[in-house]
């Protein structure tokens, strides 16, 4: 099971789209850190208010949002159509898992006074849920099910 999984990961690395995705992701994450640092350390957030504060606070979120566009671009640029199908399935599983968590936690917040889940956690959960998508792919491939 793991051998097949690792072979698939290695095959993925050979696709030029993967290298481009990793480079773009690194730039986006670096931008996130730089913008976050700049906003928190260089701007007087405590003294700011109104639209200016909103814009300043939203800036670090832009590189995080960019990651989702990078994933879409990666899927589109993949040369290997079977690999593309696996990536789409992985993304759909991650979306389903994240929306399920968000929906259930949301109703728990409304009706059971569960502690508030910051919305910034949603993209983080989605990104982590990609691992579940990868696992689903691995299991379905192992079981020999039609894609």
């Amino acid at each position: 099971m793991w051998k097949a999984y690792l072979q698939r990961r290695r095959a993925c690395y050979r696709d030029p789209a993967h290298g481009r995705y990793v480079r773009r992701l690194a730039v986006a994450m670096l931008l996130y850190l730089v913008v976050l640092f700049a906003v928190k350390r260089l701007l007087p957030l405590d003294d700011m208010q109104g639209p200016l504060l909103w814009i300043a606070a939203a800036l670090p979120g832009i590189p995080v949002a960019a990651v989702f566009f990078l994933i879409v671009r990666y899927i589109v640029e993949l040369r290997d159509e079977y690999r593309r199908l696996l990536e789409v399935r992985k993304t759909l599983v991650a979306t389903g898992v994240t929306m399920t968590i968000a929906s259930i936690w949301g109703t728990m917040e409304l009706l059971a006074h569960a502690s508030h889940l910051p919305t910034l956690y949603i993209p983080v959960i989605w990104y982590l849920a990609q691992g579940i998508g990868e696992f689903v792919n691995m299991v379905l491939e192992r079981r020999g099910e039609a894609a």
């Binding site: 072979q7 698939r8 690999r83 894609a147």
Partner: protein, 68 residues
């Protein structure tokens, strides 16, 4: 969709990786197509036919005929 990829590969003494290199896809793609887990797109099916110098229907079984 059933196909004769494995037989055709064996006739030419090609590994899955050899075929994957010729098709510019991953070995996993060849494996999935060969085992009938994934039906290739029409452009890829034509590419496979070109690599083996055969017609598509000489490689892939018509699903309608499969059921009969």
């Amino acid at each position: 969709m059933k196909n004769r990829l494995k037989v055709l590969r064996a006739e030419r003494d090609w590994s899955q990786q050899d075929l994957a290199d010729r098709l510019d896809v991953s070995r996993q793609s060849v494996n999935a197509i060969e085992k009938g887990r994934y039906d290739p797109s029409l452009p890829l099916a034509f590419k496979i036919a070109d690599v083996f110098d055969l017609a598509i229907e000489q490689i892939f079984t018509n699903p309608r005929l499969e059921r009969e």
